[in-house]
Symmetry: C2
Subunit: 102 residues, 2 copies
DNA sequence: CGTGTAAGGAATTCTGACACG
DNA sequence: CGTGTAAGGAATTCTGACACG
């Protein structure tokens, strides 16, 4: 399940280079709950490649004039829809399974 | 061709955690030409996930009592064999192709 | 040879704040 | 709201060297 993509290993400086975003922006998006780095024991932020993709996506939306709370709302909706689809899929599978059984 | 696995983004501290090797060892293996990190403009080392795998492989060989120069020699042999196989494969493909043509 | 360590300095990162708009 | 910046401090990393074996 977890792979290199999810490993939190990238410092904010490298992150800044990878995304083209200033460190200030990256920290701010964290403050606005758009991204969640890990921390070293000393407090230094660590990001994953998935976070790189997230930030690029966020950057694009910001350029389109979207506000951070809107982006956050969109993310939440996506999550909810995903859960919903999964629950429905499981429901259908269970139904089909029970039909065969009984 | 290149993916997350080859991106040099990991600092030596994280590298040390990921591999369980001391920073001293990691720097020494570089000195012995077993690993080649990139550098930031400021001189800080940056490693890739492929480097993580390399280091784990090196660590295993060191535990088996192998010396750094032997490990290095093994790597070179592997490279040469790989090139040889590829050349031979290309040769056979070319031969087959020419047979059809002429 | 391979690795630990103390040393001094430089690069990197952190937080909270002020500024502007 | 979103972002730049200067400030002071702390965490991280760097190199060259000495030590031991």
């Amino acid at each position: 399940m977890s792979s290199y993509k999810d490993k939190k290993v990238i410092t904010i400086g490298v992150m800044s280079e990878l995304t083209g975003l200033s460190e200030r922006k990256i920290r701010y998006y964290e403050e606005r709950k758009l991204i969640y780095p890990d921390r070293t024991s000393g407090g230094t932020r660590k990001y994953s490649f998935l976070d790189v993709e997230r930030l690029l996506d966020i950057a694009e939306k910001m350029e389109d004039g979207m506000q951070t709370f809107e982006i956050r709302r969109m993310e939440q909706k996506k999550m909810k829809n995903k859960e919903l689809r999964e629950r429905m899929l499981r429901g259908q599978l269970n139904a089909a399974f029970n039909m065969r059984k009984g």
